[in-house]
């Protein structure tokens, strides 16, 4: 009896979380004049909204841009972050603690403080309207470094010593010895970083003006806010679906990792 109530509550709650997405997809393939009154099933099926949207905004290009930017950032955070994390956890050197405290300090620093001057820096470097402007500021991630440091600490020193005896350089130790033994950390940091940069809107809005270089969320935001959609709701929803789809698909396949990664990022902080 009690269980039945639980199930009912859960099913209703789950519906509340899934229904809007289903509605969005249904509305995006409904004829334009039905959207306003649509609850779920459109009378006909039409891809008009999608064709119009592809016609109006370079969403394919934006997808590629987002992929390039998010992948570069993720790769950078993994490679550079593990280098720094390794130095901080396994090597002795002067100033190590200082650097560690600086990293902790930057984690507490709100981004609001650097928003304006960082933009001005990008302007001075000539990186407005370039991938550089989008990627460079995010190539390092304090949380990533800290997580690598924590994880590498759990790896036995023997392993590293043995590798050194075999004549391995430090980079080889990191990428050949530590990485294969740190898959969970790599996956977690990778997913968090990728997700965060994929969904970032504020920064692209600030540094990218050229439509050909816009990321997907930025393009869709401007499309939703501005007049380019010609007040056609279906077109906006189609753009929203296109933006949601890649992440939803990835999520459906790697659901477990997504949930674990995001949860552990919360716990570590």
């Amino acid at each position: 009896m009690k269980k039945a109530i639980f199930y009912i509550v859960l099913v209703i709650a789950a519906l509340l979380f899934i229904y809007p997405f289903i509605w969005m997809i249904a509305a995006s393939i409904a004829p334009e004049n039905e959207i306003g009154t649509l609850t779920l099933l459109p009378s006909g099926f039409s891809l008009d909204s999608y064709f119009q949207m592809f016609d109006k905004i370079p969403i394919g290009r934006a997808f590629v841009n987002s992929m390039i930017v998010a992948s570069s950032i993720t790769l950078g955070v993994l490679v550079l972050g593990s280098m720094v994390g390794y130095a901080l956890s396994k090597l002795e050197f002067k100033g190590r603690d200082l650097i560690f405290y600086i990293i902790i300090f930057t984690m507490t620093l709100p981004f609001q403080i650097t928003l304006i001057p960082q933009y001005l820096l990008i302007v001075k470097l000539g990186w407005v309207d370039s991938y550089m402007g989008l990627i460079m500021p995010y190539l390092m991630n304090a949380l990533g470094i800290i997580m690598f440091r924590q994880y590498f600490k759990t790896i036995p020193q023997d392993l590293i010593d043995a590798a050194r005896l075999d004549g391995c350089g430090e980079l080889k130790i990191i990428f050949r010895i530590l990485w294969p033994n740190s898959i969970p950390a790599l996956v977690t940091i990778g997913i968090i970083t990728f997700m965060a940069s994929w969904n970032e809107v504020l920064w692209p809005l600030i540094v990218i003006r050229d439509e050909a270089l816009m990321t997907m969320p930025q393009l869709v935001t401007l499309f939703a806010v501005g007049g380019r959609a010609d007040s056609q709701l279906g077109v906006k929803l189609a753009a929203a679906v296109m933006l949601a789809l890649p992440i939803i698909i990835a999520y459906l396949f790697f659901q477990k990792y997504f949930i674990q990664s995001m949860a552990s990022s919360g716990i570590k902080e």
Binding site: V123, W127, G169, L171, R209, D210, L233
Partner: protein, 434 residues
């Protein structure tokens, strides 16, 4: 082995350092007899610019013009700003909003055109004196050529007006109120109005007021400026009347407070009967209108006491020459060429936007165009009674302050019109203190 890897580290750092160094853009603006010309990125205007540039290059061997649409972005204003900051401005830009020019002029990045030979003569021949005074900078120079306009007018759904027994669109505030009363309806019977007389964007974003308060203020006041001698000039009965008129529209539910723009086009889907818009609406309506939909344009409504032809805001886009240009006189020759009678007609035909010249209706060369496009003739008639913007570098702030008061008074009825206008004027005057 170990050495190899530390070499790799230095390589990584080197690459990183290189990327920092090579991030800079080169700001080479080309040769002395070659111009970069940016046009708007609207497809019709690109088409026009390509034709005009080809004509010029075919007939003028000495100066070569290279056309490029302004990179598509959040807004062309932002793209221009980015190019000014980055030092990558074109020689000529033909789509500068009049209200932006003063700030750039004061920053010293524009050529004062009145110093070029033949410029003033051309201007006097093309425009009437009020247009010339309108573009004159605070320091007396002229940095822009009045190029094209899109006047804001009242668009109305003919069938909707016929349905409430109106043969002609409402002209005065009272006629407007009466029409609003007759037209608003609760179609689905849920106790809420879902068919309103009109709609104007309720967002507080400063430029939204170009489509309601500002043209209505110009209509009521006979084209009075908002700012005069670095002081608010709008604290007068006209502005108060406009606020009161609009507030009544919202109070009585003739205009909805909801953002209809987040839905489908309310005008074409018949949810409203009128709105304030420009000639670009024609192309949009022709593309998306349902079958049997009929519409036309008329002037902005005016106070009951007014009987002259109402002024309106004309959304002027002008042409400027940036100071990165190596030969402004020659660039000006190209611009003059692009605004001959023949080429203005080409512009009109291709873009359906009005060149800002005073003889649109008198010059027989344009007759056949207006014959074929009767709605554009309505706009051309209105073009004799239009205003652009006041020349001040804080125009956005002025409109923002007015817009804040507009929202409080007109839409949410939290302030009396008198109070709202007074508060806006006070805040605007503070802008000029420093």
């Amino acid at each position: 082995m170990k050495k190899l890897y530390s070499k790799n580290i230095s390589f990584v750092i080197l690459v990183l350092a290189m990327t920092f160094l090579f991030g800079c853009q080169d700001s080479d603006n080309g040769k002395e007899n070659e111009f970069i010309y940016w046009s708007s990125n609207n497809s019709n205007e690109i088409d026009y610019a390509r034709q005009i540039v080809k004509k010029w290059n075919d007939s003028h061997a000495d100066y070569f013009v290279k056309h490029q649409p302004v990179p598509e972005g959040q807004s062309s204003e932002e793209v221009i700003l980015a190019s000014v900051v980055g030092g990558t401005t074109p020689d000529i830009y033909s789509n500068m909003w009049e209200g932006d020019v003063e700030a750039y002029a004061q920053a010293g990045v524009l050529i004062p055109l009145d110093t070029l030979a033949g410029f003033m003569e051309f201007l006097y021949a093309r425009c009437d004196s009020s247009a010339i005074e309108e573009v004159r900078s605070q320091n007396g120079h002229i940095y822009q050529i009045p190029w094209k306009i899109n006047p804001i007018m009242l668009i109305y759904n003919k069938n909707h007006l016929a349905a409430i027994n109106l043969d002609s669109p409402p002209r005065t505030y009272s006629e407007f109120m009466e029409a609003g009363k007759r037209f608003k309806k609760d179609l689905d019977g849920d106790g809420y109005i879902d068919q309103w007389f009109g709609y104007s964007e309720v967002l507080v974003t400063w430029w939204q007021r170009f489509f309601d308060f500002y043209p209505l203020y110009l209509a009521a006041s006979g084209g009075a400026p908002l700012i005069k001698d670095n002081k608010a000039n709008f604290n007068n009965k006209y502005a108060v009347e406009v606020f009161r008129f609009l507030r009544e529209l919202y109070r009585n539910n003739y205009f909805p407070r909801e953002r209809l723009s987040a839905r489908q086009d309310p005008f074409l889907s018949g949810v409203i009967a009128i709105r304030f818009t420009g000639p670009w609406e024609i192309a949009h309506a022709e593309q998306y209108k349902p079958e049997g939909f009929e519409y036309d344009f008329t002037s902005m409504p005016v106070p009951d006491s007014s009987d002259s032809i109402p002024y309106t805001y004309c959304d002027p886009k002008n042409t400027v020459i940036f100071n990165t240009c190596k030969n402004p006189q020659a660039a000006w020759e190209f611009l003059k060429y692009s605004m001959t009678e023949e080429n203005d007609l080409l512009f009109l035909e291709v873009t359906n936007q009005l060149p800002r010249r005073s003889d649109l209706l008198e010059n027989v060369n344009f007759d056949s165009y207006f014959e074929r496009n009767p709605m554009m003739r309505t706009f051309a008639k209105q073009a004799k009674h239009v205003r652009g913007t006041d020349q001040t570098p804080v125009l956005k702030e002025v409109f923002d302050l007015i817009s804040q008061e507009y929202e409080a008074c007109v839409i949410y009825d939290r302030k009396s019109p008198e109070q709202a206008i007074e508060d806006a004027a006070k805040a605007v005057n503070l802008l000029f203190l420093d």
